[in-house]
């Protein structure tokens, strides 16, 4: 997990370094990227825990990657890439992954754990238009940029057009 997170942070950093001053970069991303030690500061959802307590249909939806109720999508805002030719963690053919993301913490009812998620956008084609999904557990307004899903996270791509969104497990929260 640590390795994966560092890899992600590194990739984000590399992507950003080409485009912005170090100062702007750090202020935009705040403490999130300064180290895994700060991860527990990320919000932990309540909504998804409530969901986990309910049986039956909701539990099934929470396990279906093409359902908006899928546990990994607790703060997603956009078209689910799984309905657009990708999956919950892959971009559709012919699009480009966003190097920068917003992040959140989602509760996985299957193992009872909270996970840190990276919500990447897939970029370079126009809006997919299928499976629109907007959930906001732990989402925060634009002044907390790294927790905000209202901005176009394709913004720094060569082609910043927005196509769809994925939700990638980075690791367990608070470990």
């Amino acid at each position: 997990m640590q390795q994966r997170f560092d890899h992600w942070a590194e990739r984000v950093s590399r992507g950003l370094a080409r485009r912005t001053s170090r100062r702007g970069f750090l202020s935009a991303f705040g403490h999130v990227l300064t180290g895994a030690a700060l991860l527990p500061l990320l919000p932990v959802m309540r909504g998804s825990q409530a969901l986990a307590a309910e049986p039956g249909a909701k539990a099934a939806a929470a396990a279906d990657p093409n359902s908006c109720e899928y546990w990994k999508y607790c703060a997603i805002d956009g078209f689910l890439c799984g309905c657009c030719g990708g999956s919950s963690s892959s971009c559709p053919p012919g699009t480009q992954q966003s190097p920068i993301t917003w992040i959140g913490t989602c509760h996985n009812p299957a193992d009872g754990r909270d996970y840190i998620m990276s919500y990447n956008d897939c970029c370079g084609k126009t809006s997919c238009g299928s499976c629109f999904c907007n959930r906001n557990e732990g989402e925060r307004p634009m002044y907390r940029m790294s927790l905000n899903n209202d901005v176009n996270w394709c913004m720094a791509n060569d082609n910043p057009n927005y196509h769809c969104s994925v939700s990638v497990v980075l690791g367990v929260a608070g470990k």
Partner: protein, 381 residues
């Protein structure tokens, strides 16, 4: 008797039909270009984010009295929008692609004459304008000479456009803070991750002269405020996730923060919450405040409203609690109020139905069904 009358009627009808067939043919028509009527305070600009076709967002101009769509301004991909203080000009900062959805990116500030809805000019911008909801990301200076455009790359700054010169004259780093709220002839205030306000003063050339950071005025962790504030005559009013009202006076040398008050009773607090995309509207002259609320918990801050609450500006008394037929129209996503003495309240629902209400009584006056694809913001000069 009946027979006679009926006979007479029939005769008359026949005569009428014969008469109707007689008039001269319709004259040829001339294809013309419609002119806008004079501007009305009951106009509202409906922002359609064209959710499934985001390169084709637009503003519809709608008249709350005649219930007519009066025209349209095209606004590209995730624009910021501002009106000049005199209401005569709309400025749109947006992104275009050389090949529709792809190809070279061009960011541009476009000016539209609101009396003709024709584009009158443009200024090419640095390719990093903020692609997000269209509120408080572009603003005119009070004298309309400068326009400020929020940048996000994701480093934060704002560009300064000199309107008469039609060029970008400066760019100011806002150190992670966002929004461009005009707070003086040459001052711009932004909202920061720390819960503070950053105010930057410029010279006439658009270059930074000084900056000042305020004390924190809300808790970003415990009860964050929405970025969608309502501009007042002296500053801006923000609303928190739990429904607390933060009035900020920006007219002095430093921001002055009014005592915080709650729109929810102790029993309602945390159970009824504001939510949606554009969460509050302010009638500036009376200070009356309007917001849409729903029953929901943490994480429901974008859930649309099932009721509108209306508050007196001075006493903070709730004088209206107006349920909305969310089953028929979808919940309330955006709220706006006209600024005249007989104000209309405009509600835009999740389904893009525009509800027009009397802002004083809450009486529903009209519903314009399906005005656009996903018309989730309502703008007013």
């Amino acid at each position: 008797m009946w027979r006679t009358t009926w006979g007479a009627c029939l005769a008359l009808l026949t005569a009428c039909v014969a008469e109707a067939a007689a008039p001269p043919p319709l004259a040829a028509e001339h294809l013309t270009l419609a002119k806008l009527p004079p501007a009305s305070p009951h106009w509202v600009w409906v922002f359609d984010e064209s959710n499934n076709n985001e390169t084709d967002m637009r503003l519809y101009l709608y008249d709350g009295d005649s219930h007519r769509q009066l025209g349209q301004i095209d606004t590209g991909f995730w624009p910021g929008v501002a009106f000049s203080a005199d209401g005569k000009t709309t400025a749109v900062a947006t992104t275009y692609f050389a090949r529709g959805s792809h190809g070279a990116r061009t960011d541009v500030l476009e000016f539209t004459d609101n009396s003709t809805l024709a584009i009158t000019g443009e200024v090419i911008l640095p390719s990093r304008h903020a692609q997000t909801i269209p509120l408080h990301n572009v603003a005119f200076s009070p004298d309309q000479r400068l326009v400020y455009i929020t940048n996000l790359s994701p480093a934060t700054s704002f560009s300064v456009v000199d309107v008469p010169k039609k060029s970008v004259v400066g760019e100011v780093d806002t150190d992670g803070c966002v929004l461009v709220i005009p707070s003086g002839p040459r001052r711009v205030t932004s909202l920061c991750e720390t819960g503070r306000l950053l105010s930057v003063t410029l010279d006439d050339g658009g270059h930074e002269v000084s900056r000042k950071m305020s004390a924190p005025f809300f808790s970003v962790d415990k009860d964050p405020i929405f970025v969608q504030g309502a501009l007042s005559d002296s500053g801006i009013v923000f609303l928190s996730f739990l429904g607390d009202v933060y009035g900020v006076d920006l007219s002095g040398a430093e921001p002055a923060f009014a005592p915080v008050w709650s729109t929810a009773t102790a029993a309602e607090r945390g159970k009824w919450r504001p939510g949606g995309g554009q969460v509050l509207a302010l009638h500036r002259k009376t200070g009356r405040l309007y917001l849409q609320v729903h029953r929901g918990g943490d994480g429901s801050h974008k859930v649309t409203g099932t009721e509108v609450w209306a508050f007196d500006g001075a006493t903070h008394r709730r004088f209206g609690r107006w349920p909305i037929d969310a089953k028929a129209h979808g919940g309330v996503q955006a709220i706006q109020v006209s600024q005249d003495d007989k104000p209309l309240l405009f509600l835009m629902t999740e389904n893009s139905d525009l509800i027009v209400m009397d802002a004083t009584t809450g009486r529903q006056l009209y519903v314009e069904p399906k005005l656009g694809q996903s018309s989730w913001y309502l703008l007013n000069p």
